[in-house]
Subunit: 331 residues, 4 copies
């Protein structure tokens, strides 16, 4: 049994703790949160000990691995502490909001620090199947990628303020997905939109955006993001190649469709929100982490993947400001 | 050029006349209707002579072929007259409402009488493609057929009164389609419903119905009919075989789909009504008739096909009354 | 906590035991199977005691409820024993293969015997949603129901021999579903097919079939069954009413679709087989059973529902033999 | 009757001539092409006079209007000549390959010169319906537009050489479509790809490309283009707004779908190529032209629309070269 501590008992911590509790080869030892009530409730629901000090859980010699699902600002310090203590780490995205600090962490932690970053979409059954079929050559050389990613409702101004901005907080998923499919990104062109909530503009952030990423081999990705989509959580992808295309559509709760005098073939709104849409992805992500720890295998996506996605996000921010294509910083 | 007379200037006559006028190798000589205004209007629109006596048009030595789109009650007499005059005939379905009279006509006219029956659905691009692919063995041995056929709105009581009833008037299309796919029908089980309009029940007719047809080789067809479907003209078919299934869905005017907070992927109502849904079928039907006349080839669907569909309709009526399976009469 | 014994450790028993083990308010006390190895393996996997005598588990005063997932031939005796011992019962379909015995059981057990029958499809999210929306009047009066139900691959001759035949073993699900939507069935017309495996014909059974069911209010159901469908487990339903139609389509593992030079929009084969397709249904079924036991509420589907479905199956067998419509026996 | 001359008897000229010949209020007077055989064949097929000198046809006082479907290099001179002769003009896209010359033509011809540009996609039933529903406010404020446009097979090197390049020749349709939906474009970011045919790269052109267009109100368009798509002619659009989204999918010849052990719901390749995919669009385009001439109404899309699309194409070329966002030149 792998003894696990979940650091952070918010929405994401709760899903990791529940998946850990269900995993047949995991012992969920600790659920830790400075908000003691949150830690206690989640610990009770998952049969773990509650704690309020992440460093204590990291220091616990009985703990093999930690899941970092605390606020973004704490990620790097906790990664450093956990790696120093010899623990395997699954850390939520993003690694951090400051690229230099993230890169320094990566350099210090090095190859020996076993850190996986929680880019959940790589584990979504549909995206993973598409990646596998592309890798198997089913559509020939991959030439163009289209990613549409829209949240159902915009976040609160408070969330926006600490989020690092649209490109670092939300689009970072798409940047990682683009790298997952296309390999290293050589150029970023981005345009940030303000079309939804003036409060987001007032906070200096965008609430929607579009970007073009290009890869060394000439392939390109088009990314379309929005903080608000009334039809639900819009999560689509299309991989286009020399021999065909593979597309991933949104998910509805059931296959029921209605046909009336007003409309035909009408389905329900798309599954909303990420805990529901990516339930299987989170479960597979944790299972992949556990399997990699058990096997001593390489962690994927790695800390380097997390830092590279952040470099692309920074390039997108700069491109949107300077209106020119930007090469992501080396990692 | 093939000189053609269209006998009957109603809705169906109008579409045949328009298709004839557009056909590059047809000269539309006559449009005939006892209602002189109707004949004149349609003749003017299609560049033909207007007439009021179908027998005069049949007798015209310049006429090579006739399309019979007059009321059902006149079909058999006009077929006999046209065949006697040596003309090729395309006659609308049904051949007639009286099986004995239809069979007698078939026997008298014989193989020499070149008569095609206007079962338009055989010429629908989707149904025809499905038939061709089934015949080519794409889904292996054909085992089950499902036909759903629902009109958008119920006909007037006046129409119902002279229609011959649901099975002879409407389901006859599905009976022919079942024969088109399965070959000769060996048994019919039917259930007539009264669920829409009490006036139709009062007139002694059904306004919906379901039937099971079986073929000599053990294959079966399920047919579902209704006189009213608020979502549009519901015309679907599914051919199921040992190696797969082929399905034909309804048609919408465009591929536009809307996704909102209420529903996703919602298309427009289905194309309504038969002149629109089967526009291509009518055009191909006339082209097939012209090509068969020119080539001296066998007419298909033939007069025998029309009489056989009527035999199945009579079997369905009897089955619905007696609550037992009925073998269609020999033709 | 509700203490539960699962009687029968086969495929279905395994899914019930797993769902029970996961249910937060259930204590899975016993897994019982005369095949001791099977009982032991499943008990170990679900944290239960293994037993080999179902009557001992029924007699255990610590047990509140039993799930009967043993062979069909044992169902009625175990129901009687469990009810006599005051236990709540969830029994797999069919109640039995002999209608008289099943009806006698129902009469003896009476209203006091709390027995639920495992017609899992009523709990499928898509079928249940459709039922709820129909009941809420979304499509007006329900007029026609189409159920397509095809297994991926035919069962072994050994299974067929003890199955009670296609209509009692397989179509019984569709008969219950038809009652679920339409209420009491007043007439059955059925046709049994032999198109797949001569061994099934040799065993005196059908390997495919079609049926028409009618309800007291004039509504009708068309049912299409086959023991073999190469595209996967084909489980569809369409509810048609005065104001529209609701349809349930098959499920694929993901939403990935491929478009190539050969075909566009191609999805994977349909989810195969029932444990996968109806995973959510089995979970919800057990949860509904537990909730009904806890609340002292009526069990639904009830033992009477199970016996009524069997009456329809017997009527279908008789209809297929006699080629006439048959009224199901009173229960 | 409006007397029309078609100048240019190539593929596009042929479709305009056929549509003109079928139009009830058009007299197709001339089909003109310096290649006399081409002119003669098309004139014979459409019942027109054949000519080899476009200026002669323009000078013919019996001619009311001309369709310019000759090579791009001739467009501006023919527009000038036709407007000088007082004829209404429907000119194929693009107006020309040289922006300065096109703008000079627009300034000289002015508002009095009645010139419509053949951006056929505005008349496609699905795109036009989407535009109408967006304009009616169905999806609220329009915020993002995605256009995917891929040809089935790359053009010959000879065609490429004279085409003006991907952005001016192919993407120009998408640029006009973006303006049709979003209004004036304020910035263009583009990336040209070379992934298909080295001969196209050797000729100094791109064979695929992606672009971001932004509008004054903050809305954005993502455009994805390729010269080769093995699944057929890929022509899709998605309009996303505050209250929902409308999407246009590709068209297949029929609704037939196959489900086998290999794949389910598989349709045929997408309708290929533009004469087929946009058959209805070309017919409606000519009808709109005729109606505008008859009514003395404004022509839409106008010559200014054609020049503005060219300005965007030039901006895209410059953006791809300089790797920065470019503001399209004023018109």
């Amino acid at each position: 049994m792998l003894a696990l501590a979940v650091l952070g008992a918010g929405r994401i911590g709760a899903i990791h703790a529940a998946n850990a509790a269900r995993h047949p080869r995991v012992h969920l030892a600790w659920v830790v949160d400075p908000v003691q009530d949150a830690a206690r409730r989640l610990a009770a629901a998952t049969g773990a000990e509650a704690g309020c000090d992440p460093l204590a859980a990291i220091a616990d010699p009985a703990v093999d691995a930690v899941v970092i699902s605390s606020p973004t600002a704490t990620h790097i310090d906790l990664i450093r502490a956990a790696v120093a203590a010899g623990k395997a780490v699954l850390c939520e995205k993003p690694v951090g909001l400051d690229f230099a600090a993230a890169r320094a962490c990566l350099r210090d932690v090095g190859a020996g620090g076993r850190v996986m970053i929680g880019f959940n979409r790589r584990f979504d059954p549909a995206f993973a199947e598409t990646h596998r079929r592309v890798a198997a050559g089913e559509i020939g050389r991959l030439e163009q990628l289209i990613i549409v990613s829209r949240d159902p409702t915009p976040p609160s101004p408070a969330y926006v303020a600490g989020s690092g901005g649209l490109f670092r907080d939300m689009t970072i998923h798409d940047f990682d997905l683009a790298r997952f499919f296309l390999g290293e990104i050589t150029s970023v062109q981005a345009f940030g939109q303000n079309i939804i909530d003036p409060a987001i503009a007032a906070a200096g952030d965008n609430d929607a955006g579009v970007a073009i990423l290009t890869a060394a081999d000439g392939a390109a990705a088009s990314i379309v993001n929005s903080r608000r989509c009334v039809a639900g959580y819009d999560q689509r992808l299309e991989a286009f190649g020399a021999a065909g295309l593979l597309s991933v559509d949104n998910i509805t709760a059931t296959t029921v469709r209605s046909s009336t005098a007003a409309a035909t073939g009408a389905a329900s709104p798309w599954l909303d929100f990420f805990l529901e849409r990516y339930a299987a992805a989170y479960e597979r992500e944790l299972a992949a982490f556990v399997a990699a720890v058990e096997a001593g295998a390489e962690f994927c996506p790695s800390l380097a993947d997390g830092v590279k996605a952040l470099a692309i996000a920074d390039a997108a921010v700069l491109s949107a400001q300077t209106k020119r294509a930007v090469v992501p910083a080396a990692v």
